[in-house]
Amino acid sequence: MATHKLIIAGFGGQGVLLTGQIIAYAGMMEGKEVTWMPSYGPEMRGGTANCTVIVSDKKISSPVINEATTVVAMNLPSLVKFESMVEPGGKIFINSSLIGEKPKRDDVEVYSIKANEIAADLNNAKVANMVMLGAVVDKTGIVKRESVERVLEKLFTGNKADLIALNKQALRAWNK
Protein backbone atom coordinates (compact mmCIF):
# COMPACT_ATOMS: atom_id res chain seq x y z
CA MET A 1 0.00 0.00 0.00
CA ALA A 2 1.44 3.34 -1.02
CA THR A 3 -0.26 5.38 1.68
CA HIS A 4 -0.78 4.37 5.31
CA LYS A 5 -3.27 6.36 7.34
CA LEU A 6 -3.20 5.51 11.00
CA ILE A 7 -5.11 6.73 14.04
CA ILE A 8 -3.80 6.05 17.55
CA ALA A 9 -5.99 6.91 20.50
CA GLY A 10 -5.95 6.43 24.25
CA PHE A 11 -5.76 8.13 27.64
CA GLY A 12 -3.58 11.17 28.06
CA GLY A 13 -0.79 9.38 29.87
CA GLN A 14 -0.47 6.42 27.53
CA GLY A 15 1.95 8.08 25.17
CA VAL A 16 -0.19 7.81 22.08
CA LEU A 17 0.96 11.14 20.65
CA LEU A 18 4.60 10.14 21.08
CA THR A 19 3.94 6.78 19.49
CA GLY A 20 2.50 8.49 16.45
CA GLN A 21 5.48 10.79 16.28
CA ILE A 22 7.88 7.88 16.37
CA ILE A 23 6.15 6.35 13.37
CA ALA A 24 6.28 9.65 11.50
CA TYR A 25 9.93 10.10 12.40
CA ALA A 26 10.75 6.60 11.23
CA GLY A 27 8.92 7.24 7.98
CA MET A 28 10.88 10.41 7.43
CA MET A 29 14.13 8.54 7.97
CA GLU A 30 13.06 6.03 5.35
CA GLY A 31 12.76 8.95 2.94
CA LYS A 32 8.99 8.83 2.85
CA GLU A 33 6.57 11.70 3.01
CA VAL A 34 5.03 11.94 6.46
CA THR A 35 2.58 14.04 8.39
CA TRP A 36 1.39 13.78 11.95
CA MET A 37 -1.74 15.49 13.12
CA PRO A 38 -3.05 15.48 16.69
CA SER A 39 -6.57 16.11 17.84
CA TYR A 40 -6.71 19.53 19.39
CA GLY A 41 -8.92 21.89 21.27
CA PRO A 42 -11.85 21.01 23.51
CA GLU A 43 -11.89 17.50 22.10
CA MET A 44 -8.95 16.98 24.40
CA ARG A 45 -11.14 17.30 27.45
CA GLY A 46 -12.02 14.07 29.10
CA GLY A 47 -8.36 13.21 29.24
CA THR A 48 -8.28 11.37 25.94
CA ALA A 49 -5.81 11.99 23.17
CA ASN A 50 -5.41 10.82 19.60
CA CYS A 51 -3.39 11.52 16.50
CA THR A 52 -3.35 10.69 12.84
CA VAL A 53 -0.18 9.65 11.03
CA ILE A 54 0.19 9.43 7.29
CA VAL A 55 3.19 7.73 5.74
CA SER A 56 3.27 7.76 1.98
CA ASP A 57 5.47 7.33 -1.05
CA LYS A 58 4.00 10.44 -2.63
CA LYS A 59 3.32 14.01 -1.60
CA ILE A 60 0.67 14.21 1.11
CA SER A 61 -2.28 16.53 0.63
CA SER A 62 -4.70 16.77 3.50
CA PRO A 63 -3.29 15.62 6.84
CA VAL A 64 -6.86 15.22 8.05
CA ILE A 65 -8.36 11.93 6.94
CA ASN A 66 -11.87 10.67 6.40
CA GLU A 67 -10.97 7.00 6.60
CA ALA A 68 -8.05 5.25 8.25
CA THR A 69 -6.23 2.18 7.07
CA THR A 70 -5.45 1.34 10.70
CA VAL A 71 -6.88 2.27 14.09
CA VAL A 72 -5.07 1.64 17.37
CA ALA A 73 -7.29 1.84 20.47
CA MET A 74 -5.43 1.94 23.76
CA ASN A 75 -8.60 2.18 25.86
CA LEU A 76 -12.32 1.63 25.54
CA PRO A 77 -13.54 5.17 24.81
CA SER A 78 -11.06 5.27 21.93
CA LEU A 79 -12.41 2.08 20.46
CA VAL A 80 -15.95 3.39 20.76
CA LYS A 81 -14.99 6.65 19.10
CA PHE A 82 -12.82 5.47 16.23
CA GLU A 83 -14.04 1.99 15.35
CA SER A 84 -16.23 3.34 12.57
CA MET A 85 -13.38 5.22 10.93
CA VAL A 86 -11.46 2.22 9.65
CA GLU A 87 -11.91 1.52 5.97
CA PRO A 88 -13.33 -1.88 5.05
CA GLY A 89 -10.49 -4.35 5.04
CA GLY A 90 -8.49 -2.14 7.40
CA LYS A 91 -6.96 -3.12 10.74
CA ILE A 92 -7.95 -2.43 14.33
CA PHE A 93 -5.44 -2.94 17.15
CA ILE A 94 -6.95 -3.30 20.61
CA ASN A 95 -5.22 -2.97 23.94
CA SER A 96 -6.98 -5.96 25.42
CA SER A 97 -5.44 -5.33 28.83
CA LEU A 98 -7.93 -2.49 29.21
CA ILE A 99 -10.59 -3.41 26.69
CA GLY A 100 -12.79 -6.38 27.40
CA GLU A 101 -15.11 -5.66 24.51
CA LYS A 102 -14.61 -6.66 20.89
CA PRO A 103 -15.21 -4.31 17.96
CA LYS A 104 -18.62 -4.62 16.32
CA ARG A 105 -17.14 -4.38 12.83
CA ASP A 106 -16.80 -7.64 10.94
CA ASP A 107 -15.18 -6.24 7.79
CA VAL A 108 -11.82 -5.48 9.38
CA GLU A 109 -8.88 -7.41 10.79
CA VAL A 110 -8.70 -7.19 14.58
CA TYR A 111 -5.55 -7.66 16.65
CA SER A 112 -5.87 -7.89 20.42
CA ILE A 113 -2.68 -7.15 22.31
CA LYS A 114 -2.41 -7.32 26.09
CA ALA A 115 -0.08 -4.35 26.00
CA ASN A 116 -0.19 -3.41 29.68
CA GLU A 117 0.33 -6.95 30.88
CA ILE A 118 3.19 -7.57 28.51
CA ALA A 119 4.76 -4.30 29.62
CA ALA A 120 4.34 -5.33 33.24
CA ASP A 121 6.15 -8.54 32.43
CA LEU A 122 9.00 -6.38 31.17
CA ASN A 123 8.95 -4.65 34.55
CA ASN A 124 8.03 -1.28 33.08
CA ALA A 125 4.38 -0.37 32.80
CA LYS A 126 5.33 2.64 30.73
CA VAL A 127 6.29 0.69 27.65
CA ALA A 128 2.81 -0.57 26.88
CA ASN A 129 2.73 1.81 23.94
CA MET A 130 6.00 0.32 22.62
CA VAL A 131 4.57 -3.14 22.84
CA MET A 132 1.62 -2.01 20.78
CA LEU A 133 3.87 -0.15 18.37
CA GLY A 134 5.78 -3.31 17.70
CA ALA A 135 2.60 -5.09 16.77
CA VAL A 136 1.46 -2.28 14.50
CA VAL A 137 4.79 -2.04 12.72
CA ASP A 138 5.03 -5.76 12.19
CA LYS A 139 1.46 -6.23 11.03
CA THR A 140 1.01 -3.14 8.84
CA GLY A 141 4.49 -2.52 7.51
CA ILE A 142 3.80 1.20 7.82
CA VAL A 143 7.51 1.63 8.61
CA LYS A 144 10.32 -0.83 9.22
CA ARG A 145 11.06 -2.05 12.71
CA GLU A 146 14.70 -1.06 12.19
CA SER A 147 13.67 2.51 11.44
CA VAL A 148 11.76 2.63 14.68
CA GLU A 149 14.79 1.34 16.50
CA ARG A 150 16.95 4.04 14.93
CA VAL A 151 14.42 6.63 16.06
CA LEU A 152 14.63 5.27 19.59
CA GLU A 153 18.39 5.64 19.48
CA LYS A 154 18.03 9.26 18.49
CA LEU A 155 15.30 9.90 21.03
CA PHE A 156 16.97 8.47 24.11
CA THR A 157 20.31 10.15 24.62
CA GLY A 158 22.40 11.05 27.63
CA ASN A 159 21.24 9.43 30.83
CA LYS A 160 18.18 8.09 29.05
CA ALA A 161 20.29 5.93 26.76
CA ASP A 162 19.78 2.86 28.91
CA LEU A 163 16.09 2.99 28.02
CA ILE A 164 16.92 2.03 24.45
CA ALA A 165 17.40 -1.64 25.16
CA LEU A 166 14.18 -1.88 27.16
CA ASN A 167 12.19 -0.17 24.45
CA LYS A 168 13.64 -2.34 21.73
CA GLN A 169 12.75 -5.33 23.78
CA ALA A 170 9.20 -4.06 24.18
CA LEU A 171 8.92 -3.58 20.44
CA ARG A 172 9.51 -7.26 19.97
CA ALA A 173 7.44 -8.46 22.92
CA TRP A 174 3.92 -8.48 21.52
CA ASN A 175 4.07 -11.93 19.97
CA LYS A 176 6.56 -13.53 22.30
Binding site: G12, P42, M44, R45, G47
Partner: protein, 248 residues
Protein backbone atom coordinates in the same frame (compact mmCIF):
# COMPACT_ATOMS: atom_id res chain seq x y z
CA UNK B 1 -39.06 8.24 51.64
CA UNK B 2 -38.16 11.88 51.95
CA UNK B 3 -36.07 13.39 49.27
CA UNK B 4 -32.77 14.61 50.61
CA UNK B 5 -31.19 15.44 47.26
CA UNK B 6 -32.35 15.29 43.71
CA UNK B 7 -30.71 16.87 40.68
CA UNK B 8 -32.29 20.23 40.03
CA UNK B 9 -34.57 20.68 37.04
CA UNK B 10 -32.50 23.79 36.44
CA UNK B 11 -29.96 21.46 34.87
CA UNK B 12 -30.99 19.88 31.61
CA UNK B 13 -30.95 16.05 31.53
CA UNK B 14 -27.90 15.71 29.27
CA UNK B 15 -24.32 14.63 29.78
CA UNK B 16 -21.83 17.46 30.05
CA UNK B 17 -18.58 17.45 28.11
CA UNK B 18 -16.59 18.52 31.15
CA UNK B 19 -13.72 16.32 32.23
CA UNK B 20 -14.39 13.75 34.95
CA UNK B 21 -14.37 15.40 38.36
CA UNK B 22 -14.23 18.97 37.06
CA UNK B 23 -16.04 21.13 39.59
CA UNK B 24 -17.53 23.35 36.88
CA UNK B 25 -20.35 20.81 37.11
CA UNK B 26 -20.93 21.56 40.79
CA UNK B 27 -20.91 25.31 40.20
CA UNK B 28 -23.42 24.97 37.37
CA UNK B 29 -25.73 22.98 39.60
CA UNK B 30 -25.55 25.41 42.51
CA UNK B 31 -26.50 28.37 40.32
CA UNK B 32 -29.42 26.48 38.84
CA UNK B 33 -30.57 25.22 42.25
CA UNK B 34 -30.71 28.78 43.53
CA UNK B 35 -32.59 30.04 40.47
CA UNK B 36 -35.02 27.16 40.71
CA UNK B 37 -35.61 27.67 44.42
CA UNK B 38 -36.22 31.37 43.81
CA UNK B 39 -38.57 30.49 40.97
CA UNK B 40 -36.46 32.42 38.51
CA UNK B 41 -35.60 29.87 35.84
CA UNK B 42 -38.17 31.28 33.46
CA UNK B 43 -37.20 34.87 34.22
CA UNK B 44 -33.46 34.59 33.86
CA UNK B 45 -31.05 35.39 31.06
CA UNK B 46 -27.55 33.99 31.43
CA UNK B 47 -24.34 34.88 29.67
CA UNK B 48 -21.81 32.13 28.93
CA UNK B 49 -18.13 33.04 28.56
CA UNK B 50 -15.40 31.74 26.32
CA UNK B 51 -13.73 28.98 28.26
CA UNK B 52 -14.70 25.42 29.07
CA UNK B 53 -18.04 26.73 30.25
CA UNK B 54 -18.92 28.24 26.88
CA UNK B 55 -21.01 25.13 26.65
CA UNK B 56 -22.89 25.90 29.86
CA UNK B 57 -25.87 26.93 27.76
CA UNK B 58 -26.19 23.31 26.74
CA UNK B 59 -26.78 22.40 30.35
CA UNK B 60 -28.52 25.27 32.09
CA UNK B 61 -32.26 25.48 31.71
CA UNK B 62 -32.51 29.24 31.18
CA UNK B 63 -32.35 31.55 28.17
CA UNK B 64 -28.69 32.15 27.44
CA UNK B 65 -26.24 33.66 25.03
CA UNK B 66 -22.59 33.22 24.33
CA UNK B 67 -20.26 36.17 24.59
CA UNK B 68 -16.94 37.08 23.06
CA UNK B 69 -13.96 36.22 25.26
CA UNK B 70 -13.96 38.47 28.33
CA UNK B 71 -16.95 40.57 27.33
CA UNK B 72 -19.67 38.81 29.31
CA UNK B 73 -20.06 41.75 31.73
CA UNK B 74 -20.64 44.12 28.82
CA UNK B 75 -23.12 41.71 27.28
CA UNK B 76 -24.90 41.37 30.62
CA UNK B 77 -25.00 45.16 30.92
CA UNK B 78 -26.76 45.34 27.59
CA UNK B 79 -29.27 42.70 28.63
CA UNK B 80 -29.81 44.32 32.01
CA UNK B 81 -30.51 47.74 30.49
CA UNK B 82 -32.80 46.23 27.85
CA UNK B 83 -34.66 44.01 30.32
CA UNK B 84 -34.92 45.85 33.62
CA UNK B 85 -37.10 43.20 35.25
CA UNK B 86 -35.28 40.00 34.38
CA UNK B 87 -32.59 38.24 36.38
CA UNK B 88 -29.25 38.40 34.63
CA UNK B 89 -26.01 36.60 35.36
CA UNK B 90 -22.64 35.91 33.83
CA UNK B 91 -20.63 32.76 34.37
CA UNK B 92 -16.94 33.35 33.67
CA UNK B 93 -13.58 31.68 34.04
CA UNK B 94 -10.42 33.32 35.31
CA UNK B 95 -8.94 33.78 31.86
CA UNK B 96 -12.17 35.32 30.69
CA UNK B 97 -12.84 37.54 33.68
CA UNK B 98 -9.45 38.31 35.20
CA UNK B 99 -7.33 38.53 32.07
CA UNK B 100 -8.90 39.64 28.79
CA UNK B 101 -12.06 40.84 30.50
CA UNK B 102 -10.51 42.77 33.39
CA UNK B 103 -11.71 46.10 32.01
CA UNK B 104 -15.27 44.92 31.53
CA UNK B 105 -15.65 43.46 35.02
CA UNK B 106 -14.15 46.53 36.67
CA UNK B 107 -16.63 48.72 34.82
CA UNK B 108 -19.66 46.56 35.47
CA UNK B 109 -18.73 46.92 39.13
CA UNK B 110 -18.03 50.63 38.71
CA UNK B 111 -21.44 51.28 37.21
CA UNK B 112 -22.98 49.08 39.88
CA UNK B 113 -24.77 47.06 37.20
CA UNK B 114 -27.51 45.00 38.74
CA UNK B 115 -26.43 41.56 37.70
CA UNK B 116 -24.61 38.65 39.31
CA UNK B 117 -21.29 37.25 38.22
CA UNK B 118 -20.25 33.69 38.96
CA UNK B 119 -16.48 33.72 38.70
CA UNK B 120 -14.83 30.31 38.37
CA UNK B 121 -11.23 30.65 39.50
CA UNK B 122 -9.38 27.45 38.63
CA UNK B 123 -6.00 29.15 38.39
CA UNK B 124 -5.53 28.03 34.80
CA UNK B 125 -6.79 28.34 31.23
CA UNK B 126 -8.79 25.15 31.02
CA UNK B 127 -10.23 25.12 27.55
CA UNK B 128 -7.08 26.05 25.69
CA UNK B 129 -4.94 23.48 27.45
CA UNK B 130 -3.39 24.76 30.62
CA UNK B 131 -1.78 28.12 29.98
CA UNK B 132 -1.02 30.46 32.85
CA UNK B 133 -3.90 32.58 34.11
CA UNK B 134 -3.57 35.82 36.10
CA UNK B 135 -4.65 33.69 39.05
CA UNK B 136 -2.07 30.91 38.54
CA UNK B 137 -0.11 30.52 41.76
CA UNK B 138 3.60 31.14 42.15
CA UNK B 139 5.37 27.88 41.37
CA UNK B 140 2.30 26.35 39.76
CA UNK B 141 3.15 24.80 36.40
CA UNK B 142 1.40 25.89 33.25
CA UNK B 143 2.13 25.31 29.58
CA UNK B 144 3.31 28.90 29.27
CA UNK B 145 5.27 28.64 32.53
CA UNK B 146 6.72 25.16 32.44
CA UNK B 147 9.01 25.76 35.39
CA UNK B 148 6.13 27.17 37.37
CA UNK B 149 4.97 30.77 37.53
CA UNK B 150 7.69 33.18 38.60
CA UNK B 151 7.06 36.48 40.30
CA UNK B 152 9.86 38.26 38.41
CA UNK B 153 8.39 37.36 35.03
CA UNK B 154 4.66 37.41 35.60
CA UNK B 155 4.04 39.14 38.91
CA UNK B 156 2.05 37.84 41.84
CA UNK B 157 -1.37 36.22 41.20
CA UNK B 158 -4.24 38.65 40.96
CA UNK B 159 -6.84 38.64 43.74
CA UNK B 160 -10.01 39.70 41.95
CA UNK B 161 -12.38 39.78 44.92
CA UNK B 162 -10.09 42.00 46.93
CA UNK B 163 -9.68 44.34 43.97
CA UNK B 164 -13.36 44.57 43.11
CA UNK B 165 -14.29 45.07 46.75
CA UNK B 166 -12.65 48.53 46.56
CA UNK B 167 -15.26 49.60 44.03
CA UNK B 168 -18.40 51.18 45.48
CA UNK B 169 -20.77 49.67 42.95
CA UNK B 170 -19.72 46.11 43.79
CA UNK B 171 -21.98 45.65 46.79
CA UNK B 172 -21.70 41.91 47.27
CA UNK B 173 -18.33 40.18 46.99
CA UNK B 174 -17.62 36.73 48.41
CA UNK B 175 -15.06 34.02 47.78
CA UNK B 176 -16.00 30.36 48.23
CA UNK B 177 -14.53 26.99 47.26
CA UNK B 178 -15.84 23.67 45.98
CA UNK B 179 -13.37 21.36 47.67
CA UNK B 180 -15.63 19.80 50.30
CA UNK B 181 -19.31 19.27 51.01
CA UNK B 182 -19.19 21.95 53.71
CA UNK B 183 -17.68 24.46 51.33
CA UNK B 184 -20.16 23.53 48.63
CA UNK B 185 -22.96 24.34 51.06
CA UNK B 186 -21.35 27.70 51.82
CA UNK B 187 -20.92 28.38 48.15
CA UNK B 188 -24.61 27.89 47.59
CA UNK B 189 -25.48 30.28 50.38
CA UNK B 190 -23.23 32.93 48.83
CA UNK B 191 -24.79 32.45 45.40
CA UNK B 192 -28.22 32.76 46.93
CA UNK B 193 -27.30 36.02 48.61
CA UNK B 194 -25.78 37.38 45.43
CA UNK B 195 -29.02 36.79 43.54
CA UNK B 196 -30.95 38.31 46.42
CA UNK B 197 -28.83 41.44 46.08
CA UNK B 198 -29.76 41.51 42.44
CA UNK B 199 -33.45 40.96 43.17
CA UNK B 200 -33.31 44.00 45.40
CA UNK B 201 -31.38 45.95 42.73
CA UNK B 202 -28.69 46.96 45.20
CA UNK B 203 -25.82 46.85 42.73
CA UNK B 204 -23.26 44.49 41.30
CA UNK B 205 -22.75 41.11 42.98
CA UNK B 206 -20.02 38.56 42.43
CA UNK B 207 -19.19 35.16 43.86
CA UNK B 208 -15.64 33.98 43.24
CA UNK B 209 -15.58 30.20 43.28
CA UNK B 210 -12.30 28.34 43.70
CA UNK B 211 -12.69 25.38 41.37
CA UNK B 212 -10.54 22.51 40.11
CA UNK B 213 -9.14 21.66 36.70
CA UNK B 214 -7.86 18.11 37.19
CA UNK B 215 -6.95 17.77 33.52
CA UNK B 216 -4.66 20.74 33.29
CA UNK B 217 -3.39 20.53 36.85
CA UNK B 218 -2.30 16.99 35.98
CA UNK B 219 -3.99 15.54 39.06
CA UNK B 220 -6.73 13.06 39.74
CA UNK B 221 -10.04 14.73 40.56
CA UNK B 222 -9.69 13.79 44.22
CA UNK B 223 -6.11 15.02 44.46
CA UNK B 224 -7.22 18.22 42.77
CA UNK B 225 -9.61 18.91 45.68
CA UNK B 226 -6.67 18.50 48.05
CA UNK B 227 -4.45 20.75 45.98
CA UNK B 228 -7.11 23.43 45.94
CA UNK B 229 -7.35 23.32 49.71
CA UNK B 230 -3.61 23.28 50.34
CA UNK B 231 -2.55 25.84 47.75
CA UNK B 232 -5.36 28.02 46.56
CA UNK B 233 -7.21 28.74 49.79
CA UNK B 234 -4.13 30.07 51.61
CA UNK B 235 -3.51 32.62 48.84
CA UNK B 236 -7.16 33.26 48.08
CA UNK B 237 -8.76 33.45 51.51
CA UNK B 238 -12.40 32.43 51.62
CA UNK B 239 -15.04 34.68 53.04
CA UNK B 240 -17.30 37.60 52.44
CA UNK B 241 -15.67 40.87 51.47
CA UNK B 242 -18.77 42.96 51.16
CA UNK B 243 -22.44 42.45 51.84
CA UNK B 244 -25.25 45.00 51.99
CA UNK B 245 -27.15 45.23 55.27
CA UNK B 246 -30.35 44.23 53.49
CA UNK B 247 -29.24 40.65 52.83
CA UNK B 248 -27.04 39.95 55.80
Amino acid sequence: MDTVFEYTRGMLPVNTTYCPGCTHGIAHRLVMEVLDEENLLGETIGVAPIGCSILSHNYMNVDMCESAHGRAPAVATGIRRAMPDKTVFTYQGDGDLASIGAGEIVHAAHRGENFTTIFINNAIYGMTGGQMAPTTLIGQKATTAVEGRKKEVSGMPLRISEMLATIDGAVFVERVALNSPANVRKAKRAIKKAFLVQQKRLGFSIVEILSTCPTNWGLTPVDALEWLKDNMIPYYPLGNFKCPEEVK
